[in-house]
Amino acid sequence: MTIGDNPSKPLDISKIRAKLDGSKGPQYWKSLEEVAGSEEVQAFLEDEFPNRAPDWLDPVSRRTAFKVMAASLALAGVSACTKQPKELIVPYVRQPEDFLPGKPLFYATAMPMFGGAIGLLAESHLGRPTKIEGNPDHPGSLGATDHFAQASVLDLWDPDRSQTVTRYGDISNWVNFVAALSSARDVLALKNGEGLRILTETVNSPTVADLFKTIKENLPAVKWHVWEPAARNTVTRGAQLAFGRAVEPVYHFENADVIVSLDSDFFSHGPGHVRYARDWADQRRIRTNITHSPQPKQDRQEGYQAGPAAPLRNQAATHSEEDKSPSPHPAQVQAEGKPLSEADQNRMYVFENAPSITGGLADHRFIVKASQVGQIAQSLAAALGVAGVQAAQTGTPADAAIAMVAKDLQAHKGRCLVIAGDFQPPEVHALAHTMNQALGNAGKTVAYIESLDANPVDQVESLKELVGDMNGGKVDTLLILGGNPVYTVPADLDFAGAMKKVKLRMHLGAYDDETSLLCHWHVPEAHYLETWNDARGYDGTVTIMQPLIDPLYDGKTVAEVLTIVAGKPDQSAHELVKGYWQGRHNDDADFTPFWQTSLHDGIVKGTASTPVDLSAKAPGSIPPPVQGFEVVFRPDSSVWDGRFANNGWLQEMPKTITTLTWDNTVWVSPRTAEKLGVGNEDVVEIKASGRSVKGAIWVVPGHADESATIQLGYGRSRGGRLASGIGYNANAIRTSNALWVIGADLRKTGDSWRLASVQHTQTMEEREPIRIATLAEYKKNPMFVNESEPVVPQYLTLYPDYKYEGYKWGMSIDLDTCTGCGTCVIACQAENNIAVVGKIEVRKGRHMHWIRVDRYFHGNLDDPELYFQPVPCMMCENAPCELVCPVAATVHSGEGLNQMVYNRCVGTRYCSNNCPYKVRRFNFLLYSDWYTQSLYGVRNPDVTVRSRGVMEKCSYCVQRINSAKIEAEREERRVRDGEITPACAQACPTQAIVFGDINDPKSRVAQLKAQPRKYGLLQELSTRPRTSYLGRLTNPNSEIEKG
């Protein structure tokens, strides 16, 4: 399956169109697999077969690291009644105080990302960090996380991390490195550090910033360069342009009724994106005080007498001989909320070239080329009457809407928001600032704080300068602290070439990667969970990051290296961080409590930056749009700029828009694909400014024409077993003066590259797994969700209900606030020891995720709506899977959970066939890694590691339920609402997933299930799912609707 085997047929878009024109009602279009009927699949079948790699080779399996070929006898571990092998207990010699073996501990820390940091609680089992949760006290998290944070714990245990200091590639040690660097420094110190250059990624750690200050004092000639391939450079530049100083905008979605995004995907990245999603959702969420009553009132038919003698019967679930009424149904709970007439939610307009999760949530999504967003901004600004700005035409439908958008904004002065995308040029940011000012939003929906960036230089310029000096021979010693410039620096600068001219090159990095290969010295960088550090959150709040474990491979931090340059070697990260903060206190008396509380809370009180108020002025001109075909660069949604390339969880996480795993692709619109005569998996060559790269096409409906989007972070040549050999390197055609968009042309090569998508059919067909209505329709008919698929009334079944007298667990998922970000997927994977299976297996349809996010395109092929639906186990009360299991490996619990017992499963897979939701996952091979020692560390000891040949599925995180129940029982009370939170619900940024006890009418979940928008997936099958959904609402602008 390498580039070069047979080309698959191009998509015949015209055929689909023909179909669509014929089809009535809401338009449905077919996906790749069904394009123009079955020929595509026939072809797929035909050329697929010969290409099958021998099962014992799995040549492109991207998870050899995780994979074990042997049919191991470790299987005995999960097969019952075998003689137990000898097992040792190794007690402590001195048991730590207040430590209880078997109880996980949580430590507050933070993960630096996007030039900011998100506050976290890290779970530790017997000293092993196993799981990341959000820190409820941290403003940037409020208890939620993103998928990067969730997956970061796997990086800590990654067997491919660089594990030792190397010198010229040979194993060395820290002492030698210190000696080498110190001597180099001492030499350069004679010329005030002339010729010593330090290249870092965006730094926002006060400690590090302080260290740089000292360095500057001692060695004024030392230059500090900053480069991060997907940094928010344009944001600071834009602020410079508008305000004359690099400030950071902080948005307050909780106050925004109308939001305009100028190609800004603020839900998926940026220092505040998790918090923003929460605030937005709070504005979005609708609770109506009308109670959902799905069942027609009829007399129930008598059921069978059922159930054995009392002592054997499960206490909680008992067959109701006497009383045939159904178990407490949400219908009996009175829904709380506003009256229907007052139901209201915010409205969002998004202008973008490629679908994003923000665009998916938009009430109006306008497709424009990325390079045209500037003109849109101009027109909008003009329409808003910003002085000195002329409207510009893009020639897209968007132009027509601008007036109405402006009108809507003006109608909500002070309660609206205009946001420019992180990858739009500074001018667009400046325009956005001026518009917000014109709309009186400053201080209300947007505040400006001092930049989080300790060194807010123009990173591109800074990089250019460095490269220039290197070529000019002005650099003797280059200190690369973090990052992987050799891979990430745009091709036109030829960083590698320039580097070779530097006498002494030193690299601090987590992996032995492209950069370390070209450096004389390489020092393993400490993971943020294993060292001391500090970082600023999106609003400036500082978190002191504390280690949960000693550095596994003696990794070091940026600070620890800098302190050598500063001339004070042998200071540990702990001393440095503590020292810095001690320095800001007069004496221990007030330091010690401060230190304790700060560490405990995970935030340093009072460090949130105070807003400054400034006046913005519009930029003179904006960069002209790319004439002809544009290629847009974006960081990848799962590996970002490549830093997570060796993270199996993220690699296998379906990318929200494409549901692809393990690869980056070239996104083009159906029309463009038609024009190029290519289809999915066809390889095209992208030529831009004399350079070219080859990548596989993925046709993305709703993408702008004459435009292609390509993702950074792939095509790595080093940096771990999983990182290299997949995708293509987009940096190869990136240039320093056109970082984010460039004019280029695409050419079909005739080759094809196999991609692993987890969802082949991208439409809902004639079915309605997701029920959608506009706010207006909802007000007319709040029960709209139950019309297409009525609930099967209870009286239709022969059997009497089981009554759940104890707890009755249930889940509710609000499709209106689900962003589809996929954090739940990774959170679940981390919590439940879910195996990574690799590209080949994903292609075969064998991915293991317990909760998946279904993504449907709906409506027009060129401008479809985009819907997301998280699907965990439905925990059906009449579970079809249970009926057909021959060995009772899956049965119902007394609390209505659909239990899956791995150690009883023989693997007939009948349950999966009979599961209409297909949420069951099967270990077709030995997917769990039984052999890589370091990966044992990340495992959750409360969940069995599944072996080959057993079925598995979502358990509502039963390990959490049980421990909470045990706590409650010991205290002789019922479990409180909210005491149990499954991993998915806990990680969800918008709290779209809610779990709880349905029997408790006051519980949040019971309340949500009482909402009129509540419906069950495939409820007409009478499976009676415990997981229910709230229908999706949209809030379109009626004027635009008309227009």
Binding site: G77, V78, K83, I89, P91, G806, V958, E969, E972
Partner: protein, 215 residues
């Protein structure tokens, strides 16, 4: 013409029944082996670094279970004493007894003692001491008269049907909370009604769900 000798009639019949009995017998033997001490380890003493006698420490010295098994009331894991705990006494008494050398060595070197597990559940079984103790299940109910064991062995198979037996009818085995750590506790003749009373009092459920122990 005659092929077989007269005797073959008898032989053939005997052999038929013989075969039946043989098969039956083999199955019976396999069954008993599977249930026997060989595979259950019931009553089998495992080799330990130190010949620790519960009999001596509990009965003679009258040390409470919780003195060493510190977390039995707090977590799923009863807790095995850290060397520290051993040394708290043995730094004063038996300071140079040969049998205790491993303990002292562990204390000196900081290397943990490595005990062999006696009560060993499969990895897919999640047992929680704290809740059982809290609900009035005594140590001796499962571990037997540990106070009379010179060397540790298990008295129950810890097989699933054994667990289920109690989970289905706790009233048979439950005892007052204050008696949980009483090794010599005898069930009263009126256990059945006492058990029912205690179950009500302690809100004991009959948890026979799979996910109670397996996840």
């Amino acid at each position: 013409m005659q092929i077989f000798h007269r005797s073959t009639n008898t032989i053939s019949r005997v052999s038929i029944f013989g075969a039946l009995f043989l098969v039956g017998g083999l199955i019976a033997i396999a069954y008993t082996l599977d249930r026997g001490d060989f595979s259950t380890d019931v009553g089998v003493v495992k080799e330990q670094p130190v010949p620790f006698s519960h009999k001596h420490h509990v009965t003679d010295d009258g040390i409470d279970c919780r003195y060493c098994h510190t977390s039995v009331e707090k977590t799923h894991y009863a807790g095995l004493p850290a060397t520290e705990i051993c040394m708290s006494c043995h730094s004063q008494i038996w300071t140079n007894a040969a049998v205790l050398e491993p303990v002292r060595e562990s204390w000196r070197t900081g290397q943990s003692l490595e005990w062999t597990r006696v009560h060993d559940l499969p990895e897919f079984v999640y047992f929680n001491h704290s809740i059982h103790v809290a609900k009035g299940i005594g140590c001796s109910t499962c571990h037997g008269r540990v106070d009379q064991m010179a060397l540790m062995y298990k008295v129950n198979t810890l097989y699933m049907n054994w667990c289920i037996n109690c989970h289905r009818q706790p009233e048979k085995y439950i005892r007052p909370r204050d008696q949980v750590f009483n090794m010599a506790y005898e069930y009263p003749p009126n256990q059945m009604e006492l058990g029912k009373k205690l179950m009500a009092e302690y809100h004991v459920q009959k948890l026979t769900d799979c996910w109670t122990c397996h996840r």
